[in-house]
Symmetry: D3
Subunit: 217 residues, 6 copies
């Protein structure tokens, strides 16, 4: 039985998904610690829509943002733009205007290994953004999207449009479609086991005893 | 007509200033994303007063902080100490005592590519500090100011005493005096255009249509 | 007369301890600025219990966390696990379960130069954690503890079990046992001097005059 | 009167070109020191042909190197492939086979901010390669060319197909076509001045006197 | 039929081994480009013997090098010490004396992600060393071996004692024992195909034609 | 009895000096591995003459190199300019002309944590230069010397004019004047012990036996 995105968002978290990805042999699915949420209280859960930037001073003066616009205007509910930036901290490919447009289409959030700007405005919109840094520099004249909806590598993790992406205060994990069902099954199971472990530790049991009991840490 | 620092502080923000600096060909005026505000709610707007450190174990035992003191005691209303630190994260050249002294002179905040310390106390003073990191290490025996009020490069951006410096949650931009009037004129214009763009996106218009309408993104 | 950990926690802070460590010739006792508290309001003050990781894909399937468990289950009141991680940001050796178990033993907090996970849960427990980053990756299959309670170097600072460790919003300092008494004596003295300096600066005195008066900055 | 590539290669060098680029206000034309020649004795002088990579695990199994092949097979005499690599040191987009094919077309050398492999074979061919590192990893399954002959940024320097690229033991400089004539004129002049300065210093004159005489250092 | 280490050393090279490791799905077997040979003409081919360091100021004054000595004195012909250094560039765990002792046992070379010292002497011995840097600092008081002959991660690559390690001017690859036979079979095949490709390119054939002919690049 | 610089240059080397500095408690006297000799065959032994740069776009158009010239023209036999560069790899403060002028004064070489240029010419002069990188960018408009002959920190090591500086293929060590006599005494002793160790290892003795015999490794 498939889980809805709403169930996943409410009941799972990045740590348990990361552990279950590990347990099926996919140990490179978590973005590194430099990718952070704009708001640590936010939870992002949706389907990736990918874009990759290359660095360039050149741009089409008539429409320097053609592919950004194409991607954002085609977003469907719960989709998540995932931007791979050629040189991540020199540009901020995401800001208030794209957040506003994406949210209006039902987007579940955005992920990028480059910078984000207009962060006060975005936080006040409750639109989850996971980013590599905060800075004001526009992409125009610095970088340009070369492809959209192609498989990319963002912050070291392979992402294809349609992959499940999940982010919370602990970071971002990507669940490839081919193993999504198996990973989610394991994760919903493990969440229950962790609750038992936690309860026993809270009442003061020794870790050695609790680990012997549940084999979870 | 010149804008007052109060008007600039209230109506502008780093993203729009960065875009307008770009549009007049000054694309290296934003400090990198590692320079962060101590308090993301704060806005810094003032005139730079520069100092540069060199690393050294030596110091004048009688007065190891002579140039810090000279700079701080000579601050005028709305001036902003900008400290270029030779090895930014090994020392914290700014803390509660300098913040207190600078604020008493009317300083609008401080910027450094090194560390800041006493951060809880500084936050409670509502004195804006933009920094390269947080750490407790004093400069004494680690670094020393070699010049004040000379043109420096702080966090990769050239700054001269008198330049307009502006910082908010998105980072820090420096507006050289020679282009200040032109950049401010463009920025006040662009702020209005962005409001129109935002309103149309909020009601659900497609980015493609809104961009065609206002040519702003 | 020795100071209690409670007095130290309430009256001292990392900046003053760092300055006093400097003044007795120990200038490498502060962890670098990349080691941050999970909660900037927290203060950690306790006695170190050390562990060092080495990177490895191998683990004992029956008990991959044997030494973590041995260390945590043997914690005494006010002790602080200090984890030196071989490759700090690739693994998160600390999370909600270890925090819960450690807190149940009376631990005063934890310090690591690797990542921490489950950060929302840990923050809600009011258990101080100082870390090199936030990320979801478990150590199993990535790194393993090779020794506990041996002298280590964590984030560049030598730490032995029993050393006084102190952390607050400004970072972490380690006070070696051999100089603890002297450093604490100096620190309690300096705290009083800084209060005088601060008061005079708050009423608008020039730094030059205040520094001449108290020789503290 | 225009200089031939042969005259430029024989008489100029990167330092003098860099100084002359500085003197016409183009101070960001030298690649950083991490870009090194495979053979410090080689001199590269030619016209850029650009390509940009994006990171991706995906590739066309039938022809994973389609754009590499298109670029190399279309090289004309004295042209220089310049490869901007999305994540420079994870892949080696250049090796013995591409060197052989490019040299057979008359290429003057190759430049990349990624890695090169097969370095012993390439050195023995006397084909100049400037690179960001040496490593064996193929691009297939790691990165893919997304565009060729578009303006790119390689190692931080903007490059367009047709630009003059010059490399020697001191590194690589890029001379944009729009200023090429002026920069070359200045460089041929400065080379003569430096010879005079050098001769006077070699006979033991003081720097102060020699600098006063020629204003060159 | 198994290949001897001598055949492997003479006929294979890191690029072809890396490609064949890729083709069987092991894409993380090459050490990064910062690991370099002391002498680019050397070829290292042997069986790993692993050790892992942890950083520590403490050491056993009576025998600070106990595990180094145990490992080196137990080396058999063609074995290769592989040292994982906790903080690679702060210490030089390898030098002339260890090289001399290891070579006397028949060791085929040494690999470390830390520094090496006494490099002029080692080069004159024709003993292959692959290292992360060159520097004079002894490990004593800086780092200590915590385990030998356990599975480790050196420069990001998992290595177990007994694994085939191969290094040349292009870097270092590790071939795990479980896939060694298959990888070697593919590599000896591919070497022949590359010779054909190379010959055709040398006579001026287009890359497109040659790639269509042999499917090798 | 004091040793002459000639004896030190001929008989000692950085590794043994580093070990002896360690043994008298000075463990931070070796520059990091990124500081390399232009020519690995060269040996530098002399007395430091210090200078420190700060980054700045400004310069005195009439004499942008005033302090460089003052330092170089005042060099005495065996003195060694040591340049601390504010942002080491963005500028090349040393090149052929300064090498020529310094060598004409009898300078024993130069050390900098920034870049060097004109490296082919300098190598052919047999003038030892130890540097942080190679690149063509002039300091004019990028950095400026702010002090000469003051105590500085170069590549993390404190250096004062008059200190003994020693460089060879293994790197650079700085011997402070206050401990020079003691360190040299130990070093000349240790050199002899290492010869014995080496001879025994070369004839095949076990490390364990040789270490027991001489206590040197």
């Amino acid at each position: 039985m498939a889980h809805t995105l709403g169930e996943i968002r409410q009941q799972l978290f990045t740590s348990v998904l990361s552990d279950c990805l590990d347990s099926v042999g996919h140990s490179n699915q978590a973005m590194p610690s430099r990718i952070r949420p704009l708001d640590e209280a936010s939870v992002l859960c949706g389907r990736a829509r990918t874009a990759a930037f290359i660095e360039s001073r050149a741009y089409d003066a008539a429409n320097p943002y053609a592919l950004e616009i194409a991607l954002i205007d085609s977003l469907k509910r719960d989709e998540v733009p995932v931007f791979a930036c050629a040189n991540s901290l020199q540009v901020a490919p995401w800001g208030e205007l794209l957040s506003t447009a994406a949210k209006a289409r039902g987007s579940a959030g955005a992920i990028m290994d480059g910078c984000v700007r207009d962060v006060k405005a975005i936080r006040s919109m409750n639109y989850p953004v996971f980013h590599g840094g905060i800075g004001p520099l526009d992409t125009k004249g610095r970088a340009t999207i070369s492809v959209i909806d192609e498989p990319i590598i963002c912050a070291g993790v392979a992402v294809s449009s349609g992959d499940l992406v999940f982010g919370d205060a602990d970071g971002v994990v990507v669940v490839p479609q081919a193993i999504e069902r198996e990973v989610l099954r394991l994760a919903f199971e493990k969440v229950q086991g962790e609750k038992n472990t936690l309860a026993d530790l809270q009442r003061g049991d020794l870790l050695a005893d609790v680990f012997a009991r549940y084999k979870i840490l």
